[in-house]
């Protein structure tokens, strides 16, 4: 993914700080604004994006934090899924 730097005046910088405090992800606001403006001025793309492209964007926007263990639940085995769900429930109640 490419990086875009945007210069902000003091007023906009204050607004960004307030949005961040409210839990708004600024990068997402920028991406949505770019897409909306692109659609308005240039038109919607004729071919929809490939799902893998959208998922890659999601993975990039929300990466695993360091140290997060990889899942080892066999999702094809519903008993393994059940054990994982029950283990999680027990941990919550303990």
């Amino acid at each position: 993914m490419r990086l875009l730097n945007v210069r902000l005046d003091e007023d906009d910088a204050r607004k960004v700080a307030r949005l961040r405090q409210a839990g708004v992800q600024i990068s997402r606001v920028v991406r949505e604004a770019i897409r909306a403006e692109h659609d308005r001025r240039i038109g919607r793309r004729e071919t929809p994006r490939h799902p893998a492209e959208i998922m890659a964007e999601i993975y990039a926007a929300y990466p695993d934090p360091p140290g997060l263990p990889a899942r080892r639940v066999d999702l094809r085995d519903r008993r393994a899924v059940r054990r994982a769900v029950l283990a999680r429930m027990r941990r919550r109640r303990a």
Partner: protein, 137 residues
Amino acid sequence: MILLDTAPLVALCDPRHALNRVALRDLGRLGGATLVLCLPVLAEVCFLLPHAVQRQRVRRFLEEFPVVTDRIDDERAMWFEVLGWLARYAEHEPDLADAWLAVLSGRQPDDRVWTYDREFRTIWRRPDGRRIPLAVG
């Protein structure tokens, strides 16, 4: 429409999971079909993806793709159908999400189920005894 089971959604929203590539491939093959997500499946997904960032991915997935909730006119009647289905298959110890998807499939006969759970091929049937049509594999 495609009835979404737990495993594909978990695999899609966990890029390090062994099934992630398979789920991405299948998502591409489904070609933008509308996905139906029911609450029992979402509950299982939240148990299996407990970290905040994993759930943010789930949320973003639901925003980016055509995912709708299951439309049930009489949810109370659905509960009893689901409980009846669970009782019928009790010896196999099915879970609520299995039952919900099987009953939903019976109510919406044109829909297919996207699952990696082998019991949907081998054991589970619609309430009327017919096979459950699958979306992949």
